[in-house]
Amino acid sequence: MKRRSITRSANELLAIASVLGGCLLNACSSTPEESAVEQGRALYDSKALSQSRLNDYTCVTCHDTVASVPLSKKAGGALAGVTLRKSFWGDQVADLLGAINACRSSFMSDTQPLSANDERARSLYAYLASLEPGDSAPIPFTVVNTIDPLPRADTPEAIADAEGHGQLLYAQACAYCHGSMHDGIGRLSSRVPVLPEETLAEHAQYSRRIQRLIFTEKIRHGLFLGYGGNMPPFSSQLLSDTDVSDLLEALGVLGIDDAQ
């Protein structure tokens, strides 16, 4: 723990100080409930929810506060109503704090769980509760375990449509973390690969057909099921197989080997 605090980056300390400072100012001029909500709101939008200097995420990275119309393509569900839900992560976690800690551990590189008495946890809860009522139903979240080859559209018109749809999906689902396609402008950090070039380069030893499977696997499994990294998985409810195929069309990951 000492080593971690000594090596904490200046940026991280600034982020925490900014959150705490803003909250302290607010705490003295508002009711305790209001200040807790403000503290929680700041944490929600801050990397300071994790104490890891490797963390690139905030809650906003994967979640909206309210469900947008049309629905957002962020990997996590909208958070309004989350305090009223009884299960999370596709019924695999039965309590909200456990779900938050699973996010912090999986994506935010902080394996020290928050306890219910932790001030950050209580503030975050206060903010999330302020979003009620929202949607109290658990968010469907089905992970696609088996990765099968995804067919491409079979006519030039359909391929053009797929590519256009894929560009839209990229903007909705991928750009927040990966930045713009091909150059990564606006990506979360240099640790997030530029798509598709850097990921293809990392897997240059594989055939195009396998590379397409690898992209599919990464979208579907994220860091789980043996892949690694810290990307979230995209459920079948969020992206259909056709959606993923269209994304790959837009990325130019077509699975066509040179010999073909």
Partner: protein, 391 residues
């Protein structure tokens, strides 16, 4: 922390005292007989009211929100209000990248659960393929077996042996200060159980085709012997392949089901255990009948109830005379892959049906005399064993 410097007397954090209210269902016994059934492929524990024959809830357990944690067997520590479940993390990865990048076995865990609501009280990392967990109420000790078949290609027998992990007391897992000790006991153990005072652990060592007895206090192997019938100087005829192991502490009997010899071996609990008898379910001669026995139970001093698979069925045998008293077959709809019999203090007989591991299994109550199914409760994916909390 945040309210430092403010004069508001309530600014001490009490404003969010109700943070994270517990929405979990609770499972007070309240005079009921409860059954706890881990579902390996759903990462849940189903809690059943065995008096009303209803499913109260299936509660997620485990540490990973996406991967299969594989909870296999839950044991009860009533004095501390805890249950312990082994998380096996079966290797289920088939994707191109994960396999190519060398995805491998993950360490198993033992998770301590608060019995009231199955919330997680703590966990302990153990070793890959945590296959079974046993707890002794008498000593407070916990033991974990690891069916680590990745070691089975090693040439040296000592290297093939995976560790038994002991935790003493088991409740230290919930307190976050468990200090486990390890003993390389045998190759690919499947199941284990303590004797009545917790002094010895019996281990079904599938990978060595043996029954191993361990002194749980000194962590030493007391004996190794055949897990079933053997023929002098004929290893092939002596091959048993033990899997299910159950101690009937009240009747001072140890029951081991053997997959290859298709026998249930009955031992006494002397040191070392003595084989008293072995029993094989006899099927109709006109069918190819494997009748692989699973976890049996003694329903009386002389009556042995054996569930078997391939085909689905069960049998009653008299262990004194060796006579097969009754045999039934179940359809896939009634009970697919019968796995474990358990008997209650008032002689009701329950059977866990695994199902096909991809669709829900079930717990059924059967008539102890006819083995006919009288009631059924669907659970989730791949149940194998049930632990009963008596009222």
């Amino acid at each position: 922390m945040m309210a430092v410097g403010c004069s508001d007397p309530s600014g001490n954090g009490d404003h969010s005292a109700s943070a994270f209210p517990n929405h979990r269902p609770t499972f007070e016994s309240a005079g009921r007989r409860l059954g706890y059934v881990p579902n390996r492929n759903s990462d849940t524990v189903s809690v059943l009211d065995l008096d009303a024959m209803v499913l109260l809830a299936s509660v997620p357990v485990g540490r990973d929100p996406v991967d299969i944690d594989g909870p296999q067997h839950l044991v009860l520590d009533l004095e501390n209000g805890l249950g312990y479940v082994a998380l096996s993390y079966p290797f289920s990865i088939t994707s191109a990248h994960a396999v190519a990048q060398g995805a491998t076995l993950r360490s198993g865990y033992v998770e301590a659960l608060n019995l009231l609501d199955l919330s997680i009280a703590g966990d302990l990392r153990v070793e890959p393929k945590a296959a079974d967990v046993a707890f002794s109420p008498a000593s407070g000790r916990l033991a974990v077996a690891h069916a680590d078949d990745s070691r089975s290609l090693q040439g040296d027998i000592e290297t093939r042996r995976s560790n038994l992990v002991f935790v003493d007391p088991a409740s230290s897992i919930a307190e976050g200060k468990a200090a486990p000790s390890r003993l390389p006991a045998c190759a690919v153990p499947s199941t284990l159980a303590f004797d009545s005072d917790g002094a010895r652990v019996f281990v079904a060592c599938t990978g060595e085709d043996s029954l191993v007895v361990v002194d749980s206090a000194s962590r030493t192997v007391l004996s190794r012997g055949p897990s079933g019938p053997s023929v002098d100087n004929d290893p092939a005829a002596s091959f048993n392949k033990p899997y299910g192991l159950v101690v009937d502490a009240a009747r001072q009997r140890l029951l081991i089901s053997n997959e290859v010899s298709r026998t249930v071996a009955v031992f006494d609990l002397s040191d070392p255990p003595t084989l008293l008898s072995s029993h094989r379910v006899v099927g109709p001669m006109e069918t190819v009948d494997f009748s692989v026995p699973m976890f049996p139970v003694l329903t009386s001093d002389s009556t042995l109830a054996i569930p078997f698979q391939s085909p689905n069925g069960a049998a009653l045998l008299d262990i004194t005379s060796g006579e097969q008293l009754h045999r039934v077959q179940y359809s896939d709809d009634q009970c697919l892959n019968p796995a474990e019999f358990t008997v209650t203090s008032d002689s009701r007989l329950f059977l866990v049906c695994e199902g096909d591991h991809y669709h829900p299994g079930a717990v059924v109550e059967v008539n102890p005399d006819t083995l006919a199914i009288v009631a059924s409760i669907p659970v989730e994916l791949y149940p194998e064993r049930m632990t009963i909390l008596e009222p």
